[in-house]
Symmetry: C2
């Protein structure tokens, strides 16, 4: 399959046409484009777009895509650029559409429990807005400054997936612009839909390769009235992690089950300059329970606390005050930044394995740590089997780093495959993880994905070279 067309390079005439669409103030060319737009948060891949266009409406996006389609120019859509796999890097140059200014909350419909938003609204803004209205948008990825468009495109998960599921579960409808500029409405406010292939569900998680999301209708829930966190120290990580499938088996589903190790906590204390409520143990589980009354929650967590104590927990620390919860969750929120600040460079792996295989996977990373003589840090979502594993460069040379990193990634993704896990739980494939995806899914699935990509985008101009290419 010949995927990469001989894309047209942007010239003066193109710029004139694009200026006619959005005006001259929202277009940036060549060296005037900030270097920020050449990369995401941790992709390790960089490339500048030829033109950067800030858009304000669906119609503008549609006109740009129509022109790009007719003229064979590659296009990448970008939100906050908080991705971790290079999905929004314009590796073929061309046009970058910046959707950050399409950031209006359009409608809260309390009778249908939906929120209609533009793609550039930040996750933290959605959280704040709905909570002020006593409502709840459950997906809760760590990176709160991501846009909702980016969250939908990676099918972001986050802490509360154990109980509430992932972003796709909360997308009721989408307005999208197709690669040829056609505007389509998919789904809507309806709760059930069995009316043809579910294009909406397919576009969720497609990392900007199939269509550009210009509006989303999100499903909301009533806001749980109370939430309590339990911080549970264990003698070692094995004991902590091995307790997780027992909690699930006991049929009390917490909202979230996170795991963390002492050295990550210490790094976070140093990074934030704030004490964590406890740092005496080697490993911790952090559980949250939510519900509508203290009694309801207590009944749930009593059972789980008992299971933890029976399985080697040293103590069960209850965080029911806002202050204590804040101190725990702000530390949890700073783990990524704290690890990043402790080294020269790092890369990450966010495999997801069945819940009862997490312990085995983490032990394997210890083995790799020794074998390759590198620092490897873990934390993540124990409740849903989604690990966040960071490999640190420290003082390695560029060459050693690249070689060792590749070897470690190969080992980890092969292990994930062996455990019936998957390459990415929530960060996506983008540019950086393609070969590991191909290894997992095989040639037939890769070819099928590419045929579908071309069904959406026959000229392969929308974010080419990503996911399955």
């Amino acid at each position: 399959m010949e995927l990469y067309n001989n894309y047209k390079k942007i010239d003066e005439k193109d710029i004139e046409f694009l200026k006619a669409i959005v005006g001259k103030d929202r277009i940036c060319i060549g060296e005037d484009i900030s270097e920020d737009f050449s990369h995401d948060e941790l992709g390790g891949v960089k490339k500048m777009p030829e033109v950067l266009i800030e858009v304000l409406s669906t119609e503008e996006v549609s006109k740009i895509m129509k022109y790009a389609y007719e003229n064979n120019i590659p296009v990448v859509a970008r939100g906050s650029g908080t991705g971790l796999v290079g999905a929004s890097v314009p590796i073929y140059g061309g046009i970058m559409i910046n959707l950050s200014s399409m950031n209006k909350i359009l409608e809260l419909d309390e009778e249908n429990l939906t929120l209609t938003v533009e793609p550039g609204v930040l996750l933290m803004e959605i959280g704040k807005f709905v909570e002020e209205n006593d409502l709840f948008y459950p997906p809760d990825p760590g990176e709160k400054s991501a846009t909702i468009g980016g969250n939908i495109n990676t099918n972001a998960g986050g802490m509360r997936a154990v109980k509430y599921g992932v972003t796709r579960d909360y997308v009721r409808g989408l307005e999208v612009v197709m690669p040829d500029g056609t505007i389509m409405e998919l789904g809507g406010k309806v709760v059930k839909n069995s009316s043809g292939y579910s294009l909406k569900d397919f576009i969720c998680g497609s990392e900007g390769t199939l269509a550009i999301i210009t509006k989303a209708i999100l499903k909301l829930l009533p806001l749980p009235k109370k939430a309590i966190s339990l911080l549970i120290p264990f003698e070692d990580l094995d004991k902590a992690i091995e307790t997780v499938p027992k909690i699930i088996k006991a049929k009390s589903i917490p909202t979230s089950i996170e795991f963390m190790e002492r050295d990550v906590i210490l790094a976070s204390e140093e990074f934030l300059g704030k004490k964590f409520p406890d740092n005496s143990a080697d490993a911790y589980l952090l559980l949250t329970f939510d519900g509508n009354s203290k009694e309801e929650i207590e009944k749930n967590y009593d059972n789980v606390a008992e299971i933890c104590l029976q399985n080697g927990a040293i103590d069960v620390l209850i965080a029911d005050t806002d202050e204590r919860k804040e101190s725990i969750w702000s530390a949890r929120g700073a783990f990524l930044e704290a690890i990043k600040a402790s080294t020269t460079e790092m890369d990450e792996c966010d495999v997801c394995v069945p819940r009862n295989k997490i312990a085995e996977f983490i032990k394997y990373t210890y083995k790799l740590q020794k074998e390759f003589n590198m620092r490897i840090k873990n934390f993540g979502h124990a409740g849903d089997g989604n690990l966040h594993i960071y490999i640190l460069k420290d003082d390695l040379s560029e060459e050693d780093w690249n070689n060792k990193l590749k070897a470690i990634f190969n080992c980890m993704y092969n292990k994930a495959k062996e455990l019936n896990g998957t390459v990415s739980g929530e960060h996506g494939i983008g540019f950086a993880k393609r070969e590991y995806l191909f290894n997992l899914i095989g040639e037939d699935q890769k070819e099928l994905m590419n045929r579908i990509k071309l069904a959406f985008d026959p000229k392969n101009i929308l974010n080419p070279g990503k996911v399955c290419q």
Copy 2:
């Protein structure tokens, strides 16, 4: 796009080959095939397959598909045949694969809360099995003798969608056979997955046109310890229905909110020979609440009962004994059969509209009833906007029936479109509802769906002529 190949007719040589795959006892040819296999429950369309093959394994399905693909023979997969839109009718003849005997529950994994099943397992068997293990499979369509394969293919919804969502939300992984015989594993036991396009979510709801499901990994929840139903009589249906968005707005989400009218209740009493707890009012809402304690549920329903009384409810009847619940829900379960028994022939429409538009849609069906001088019966899922509307033939001539039915369908689907609703909430498009889908989604989306269909099935041999064709 030329979709319909010059399909090969089955000959002696084909039969010999197919017998070599499954043996001679599981193949039926020509007039030996029971007429049952020419239609589903209410499709109004009939066509016999040329060969009917009962399969027992994925490998058999794969071999049959490989042969059919190489020889350009159309294939339709079938479960219990309880569909309502002709999706499993082999309109181009060819091979029918009967999956009903692939009906084993393969594994209950309590640590990952998953159930692995073959596609022919019946919904009622899954319900029984998981409840015996104190677990819960939430999707709850009325037709309990449907297979899980059929449920996944229509993305079936049912009563509990208000709180728990639909079938797609509970499918973690699929094993499928592609049109060319390739076997693929999609998803798995993992809770989160952002690893390439979500083929699994796309195949859910694709009505057997993209691949044949040969295994499914379902997500389970802990079984709620208690459930209580409230039967709430209202003076008239308007008052009942108009209360629904107020319940949702009050942020107490019931498990289900069904509506029913007096004459449907009377029909069901007659059909079952059993009394309904109350038949004095014109209209009823039937609500269920579930949870882990009586107190938790009571807190929830007290609030909702109050809202109902403030909005014209005559009374609130609580069904907390098994006996009373059984009498209400067995009546609810018999509505379709009871209406069917009251007339000569009927057809149905299962539009889904935003929850706050149900009242408007139902009033519109009253108008049509008068205008066309036909009996039209409603019941359905008020909580999720998914209506079940039955148009009865009674003593109309065949010609009048066909003409009037078409005219009424046109009116209803146009109204659904006007209210931002969709053609089908849970029954699917199949063969019978295609033109209404095309009218709703327009030419661009139809063409896109067809391009995707051909990406899965380049020779268009798997269930051709359905959904978007």
